[in-house]
Amino acid sequence: MNKTTEFRTSEDALKLWAEEEEKEPELMWEKIYDAIGDPIFILDSTGLILSMNEASEELLEVKFQDIKGSRCYEIVHKTETFVEGCPFRKSMETQNRESYKLQIGTRWYRVSVDPIKNSEGGVIGAVHIITDIDELIKIHAKRAQLGAVIENTGEAVIGTGPDGLIESWNKGAEETFGYSHEEITGEPLLNLVKGDYKRENEEIRSDLKKNNRTSEREWKMIRKDGTEAEIELSFSPIYDERGVFYGVSYIGHNIGPQRLAERELLGYMTESFIRMKKPVEIISSNLKEISELYEKEEISADDADEMIKIQIKNAEQILENLYDLNKKMVHKKIGIPDEYRSFFLEERAG
């Protein structure tokens, strides 16, 4: 579009205004007044209603002609005088804008009163505007509730801007990584990411920018004290109010304890297998051999008895080894469920 076209368009638009003003010059101001969606009253300094727009008539379900000469409190509050905390009265005193939030029925409104001053600066009345802020209030309430949930969740929730610098950091992130919000804000998220995963982070940011979905990842990250944390992360794009990609939010779940428990349980299973399978095979084989030797009369009954006692000792020792292993597992405190903890520490029979 060039500048000449822009100017011509403006000129046409102004022409439309001029034509309308020429037709009904006395009604032009009233048209503007009625076009405003928020109820507006013009009051004198005593609260007498001098005029009201169509939105006011709709809100109060009255016509201005019918209430002409009434004071605002009589019509709005149905009282004989000003209500306590009335912003109109305050505004008359302070000679400044006064406003407050008001619930009418189930909806929320903001009532604002702006003083009208004469040429000497004295207050001669006020503009009283009622704005429906119900949707805004409810959105704010929802956002506040969501914010509280995010702030207090045990998961680490981290928001980064377009440059990858950390902008938001919840309590879960503080607990997971050890940095306070003040310490980490403005730092690159990459400072928390270990080696190879840094490249992955750039790929994810690029994918999210292109509206591509990304799956969850498990990253090794670094805490404030330098120790390593195993974190399962999910990623979401952040858009600004225009819907333009702004940054990335990260939700991280500390899976270190879970992975540690898994590794310990695997170790436990392996150790149990070693401590049990072959020794039991040895006992089984020895018992068979004792039985065969006795049947072939190669050993006496006393010999067989002595050899069986050895196998009993072997079996008892295997049990002892397993109890020791169970105790070690329980004392490692690696996130074993309580019911398993008591199962592992079960009193021995006999």
Binding site: I282, S285, E298, I299, I310
Partner: protein, 180 residues
């Protein structure tokens, strides 16, 4: 390494793996071959009581005059023949590595000058009673002692009974590994 070639005149220490049901047969065969090669055999047993083992050798026509026993299981299991004598030393339990080491040193001294072959039966049973790190340390002691004195030996174990780490640790202490 082949089983038939594993007992030689050279000073060597071999680790033998066998299925549990073949353990005693392997034991007897090694004893027989070692005696035939002119060795004095010292059997260290934690598996079968030595006096019963001795009687079974006799029934298998093994010359037991050339055999000495170090027995760490009979006393422990409350067996009847628990006293040490001219050809048996009784250790109070398989966990008593000090007693076992002392007996081992005493026997080597007792037969100083003889061509000695040590049969250790078995590593797998020892692992029931002791943690693997202690077992490795003890095996290191035994094998070092044998090598210092230029003696030979065999260590018996159940096939598949050693985890990979232990297999590699014990494997590094011996001259060869034989699957029977």
């Amino acid at each position: 390494m082949d089983f038939a070639e594993s007992i030689t005149d050279d000073d060597s220490i071999i680790l033998y793996f066998s299925e549990p049901e073949k353990g005693r047969a392997t034991n007897t065969e090694i004893i027989q071959k070692s005696i035939n090669k002119g060795y004095r055999v010292i059997v260290v047993t934690n598996n079968f009581p030595s006096k019963i083992l001795e009687r079974l050798y006799v029934k298998n026509a093994v010359n037991t005059e050339k055999i000495f026993f170090i027995d760490s299981i009979t006393s422990f299991a409350g067996g009847v023949s628990v006293k040490s004598d001219g050809s048996h030393i009784m250790i109070r339990s398989p966990q008593d590595l000090t007693g076992l080491s002392m007996a081992f040193s005493d026997v080597l001294k007792k037969f100083e000058g003889d061509k000695i072959f040590i049969l250790f039966d078995s590593l797998s049973t020892m692992l029931i009673y002791l943690p693997s790190d202690k077992v490795v340390r003890f095996m290191h002691f035994i094998t070092t002692k044998l090598r210092t004195l230029d003696e030979s030996g065999a260590i018996l174990a159940v096939k598949g009974g050693l985890d990979p780490l232990l297999y590699s640790q014990v494997g590094s202490l011996v001259d060869g590994i034989v699957d029977t």
